[in-house]
């Protein structure tokens, strides 16, 4: 226990050193002028330090660690606002791949992820309103030369993935397939989100998927997806925690150094108390995340994991949005300019809090999963 805490502290320190050495914010700004959302070179460096393989089995070249370690990295990268799609690939895609039932394919894909050689993106969403993967319209059907996928996926992130993990309905349930970005019958169009990340819309016009590309059979696909979504929700919460910590730090620095009426802004009691309110929001995010990580590393029951994920993401979504909005206000006019660092963090928070269910959606799922009978007891 003590040992693990020390290891975690060392991991957090090395993430901090990593982002400090990287000009993350200027890279985010520079990428905006391109049609890229991240740098392959920076991605390789993430592979070099091993973090892309945290959830990858040792046999596939990974570290085979837990959600706890992944969350520490996500939080630290969020604090530094690294533009690379760490949570999307090393978190979400890796978790979905691990949860499938095609061990051979999974090992290849996970090895790709750990080595940084290839990036995978999960293509599950079809409707921007629904954050549940349970009802895809995309289908897998027998074709002349084997099964083919037909349908449409949206908000697939990162758009620049080398291949996609696509969910599709069949008579027997939902299956998952690996589809290469240059597969025949696949149209990919990309668009930039508010944070500069790029998402793809996939149009699948009878894309052939040989059996070897089936990552999860119809009996397993939905569960694999749900496990992956829950893990990604927790990791997005971890990244939002890091982003919010940094916003709090930026805001406190600004208040302490900027002067008005011959005093630092931080001398004004109203601003002091509002900074404290931000701090409380950050601590609440930390508490919710801590609990969710413990559940994900300790409990296999999907409903329990989903509730913990919803709890973390409901808190992170609302708290991070509140922190971001207030950080802009406390920065005054400066906070509204593109050159202020707060905006760079805010954009990412807007994107992450909308991803995989926003706070309102998660609050409802959390409430739906609450056991109600015993709750009157203490009254």
């Amino acid at each position: 226990m003590e040992d693990r805490q020390d290891e975690h502290r060392m991991l957090a320190d090395s993430v901090r050193d990593f982002v400090r050495a990287d000009a993350t914010l200027s890279r985010v700004r520079a990428l905006r002028e391109t049609h890229q959302s991240f740098s392959r070179e920076a991605w390789s460096r993430l592979a070099d330090v091993g973090w892309l393989g945290i959830r990858v089995p040792e046999a596939a070249g990974g570290l085979d660690l837990g959600v706890a370690e992944l969350a520490i990295v996500a939080e630290g990268l969020g604090r530094g606002r690294l533009p690379e799609p760490f949570v999307e690939v090393a978190g979400f895609a890796a978790a979905v791949i691990r949860s499938g039932d095609n061990d051979v394919l999974a090992r290849d894909l996970l090895a790709d992820i750990a080595s940084g050689r290839r990036l995978y993106a999960v293509a599950w969403q079809e409707d921007s309103q629904d954050a549940s993967p349970a009802r895809p319209l995309c289908t897998v059907q027998p074709g002349g030369a084997g099964p083919v996928l037909t349908g449409r996926k949206i908000l697939v992130t990162p758009a620049e993935a080398d291949a996609y993990i696509v969910s599709a309905a069949s008579a027997d349930g939902i299956a998952l397939y690996r589809v290469a970005a240059d597969a025949p019958g696949l149209d990919v169009s990309a668009q930039a989100l508010v944070d500069g990340s790029r998402v793809a819309e996939l149009r699948l016009h009878g894309v052939p998927v040989p059996d070897g590309d089936r990552l999860a059979s119809p009996g397993r696909g939905l569960e694999a997806l749900e496990h992956g979504v829950a893990e990604a929700q927790v990791l997005a919460s971890a990244e939002m925690l890091g982003l919010s910590e940094q916003l709090l730090a930026l805001t406190n620095d600004y208040l302490a150094t900027r002067r008005q009426f011959d005093r630092p802004l931080s001398a004004f009691q109203v601003l002091r108390h509002r900074a404290v309110n931000l701090y409380i929001q950050v601590e609440l995010m930390r508490a919710a995340l801590r609990q969710a990580v413990r559940v994900l590393d300790g409990d296999d029951d999907l409903a329990v994991r989903q509730q913990a994920a919803s709890r973390a993401k409901a808190r992170a979504g609302s708290a991070a949005m509140a922190v971001a909005r207030e950080a802009v206000q406390l920065h005054g006019a400066i906070g509204y300019t593109e050159e202020a660092d707060v905006g760079v963090h805010l954009h990412r928070i807007v994107a992450l809090s909308a991803w995989l269910g926003n706070a309102a959606w998660h609050r409802r799922r959390y409430a739906a999963l609450l056991p109600r009978e015993s709750l009157e007891a203490v009254s």
Partner: protein, 383 residues
């Protein structure tokens, strides 16, 4: 010439409305960001040709000479139509300044060119490190023969890149006892050597305001307005009923309309949880509108506005902000997508009002400053 003031309020309103519906172009209604001069130029020149650049100026100076009551109607109808705001500092600020404090020569030199839009003015009050605190104004103007030599930096200057002139406050007496004193009003041609304009990109990626650097800029002494060292008192005296507009329900209503569009597109009217939040905001806007009317009545009756109008600005901008936040929260994962996007057969921009709401609580005296004012001047709480 029509005597607009003699018309009944309702007849005037109908006339304005008909004019705007007939002439204001559809594609410029409710713009999703502050438009640039070239985008609104045609409309404003057309209006200028018809003599309507300055509804509030006296007729003797080329204005329409509307009463405050009629001006309010004119503004309300523009808001109703969604008319884009032009670079109106010349009309709103410089005109009234010169009419009240300017020399005849200044009036003749500048007023007609404001009316024709030959000159486009921007405001030079804000400086880095002196947002709400004018006492720490650092731009200096030193008299040297028949010019002032101006050095300093202005910031948050709205659309300076489109302007030809700037009216600015500069410190002319650094020894003045109170720091609000010793400040003068200068009119500066932006083509003068030593002026450098750098647009600032905002958090939404638009270039709405600028930094303006002034390095040994030579401004003719005849461009000083009113008495030297009394710039700040003049600037304050100019704040008339325009302060009302900081509390206009316009932006909140626009956001509420956007929320309804999204609600219709996403069938949120069937969601009782959403309806509870909507009802709260509907009431917030309704009560804002009623309170605005109360202050507008004062203006119409020719009474000056008190410091209490500050609460309207707080409520208007924070309500706008809450609605913008609910738009984002109601868009699901589409909230990450910038710009207009399709929801069924409707197009909705989810994020632009979210970003627009941010400066609203900061500019025009931040809401923190407004609360300071209310505590001191309205509640009269001892410090």
């Amino acid at each position: 010439m029509t005597d607009w003031n003699a018309m009944s309020d309702e007849a005037f309103r109908q006339a304005v409305r008909a004019d705007l519906e007939a002439n204001y172009p559809e594609h410029l209604r409710y713009p999703s960001r502050r438009l640039r001069w070239q985008e609104v130029r045609e409309w404003y020149l057309d209006r200028a040709a018809r003599g309507w650049t300055a509804p509030g100026w006296p007729q003797a100076f080329g204005g329409v000479g509307l009463t405050p009551a009629k001006q309010l109607i004119y503004i309300e109808e523009q808001e109703r139509r969604g008319v884009a705001r032009g670079p109106d500092q010349g009309v709103v600020m410089v005109g009234p300044l010169l009419i009240r404090y300017g020399t005849e020569a200044q009036q003749q030199a500048f007023l007609p060119r404001i009316l024709s839009w030959e000159h486009i003015w921007c405001q030079g009050y804000s400086e880095p490190n002196a947002g709400s605190d004018l006492a720490s104004l650092r731009t200096r103007a030193v008299a040297d023969g028949d010019v002032y030599i101006v050095n300093g930096q202005k910031t948050w200057t709205t659309l300076a890149q489109d302007a030809t002139h700037m009216f600015l406050l500069a410190r002319t007496d650094p020894a003045a006892e109170r720091k609000q004193e010793g400040i003068s009003f200068l009119l500066v041609d932006l083509r003068t050597e030593g002026v450098h304009i750098r647009p600032i990109r905002n958090i939404a990626g638009h270039e709405e305001f600028c930094e303006v650097f002034l390095e040994d800029v030579r401004v003719p002494r005849e461009n000083l307005v009113g008495s030297p060292n009394e710039g700040w008192s003049m600037a304050k005296a100019l704040l008339g009923f325009e302060r009302l507009f900081l509390g206009s329900p316009k932006l909140a209503r626009q956001a509420l309309g956007r929320l309804h569009r999204l609600a219709a597109a996403r069938e949120l009217y069937r969601d009782p949880g959403f309806m509870d939040q909507l009802a709260r905001l509907e009431l917030d806007v309704a009560d804002l509108g009623e309170a605005y009317e109360g202050f507008a009545e004062q203006v119409r009756a020719g009474q000056p506005l008190g410091a209490d109008v500050s609460w309207l600005k707080i409520w208007a901008t924070e309500t706008f902000d809450r609605i913008a936040a609910l738009i984002v929260a109601s868009a699901g994962s589409a909230a990450a997508i910038p710009g207009p996007q399709s929801f069924g057969d409707r197009s909705v921009d989810v994020l632009n009002l979210y970003f627009d709401a941010m400066p609203a609580t900061i500019y025009g005296g931040s809401n923190e400053i407004q609360r300071n004012i209310l505590a001191k001047q309205v509640l009269r709480l001892p410090e």
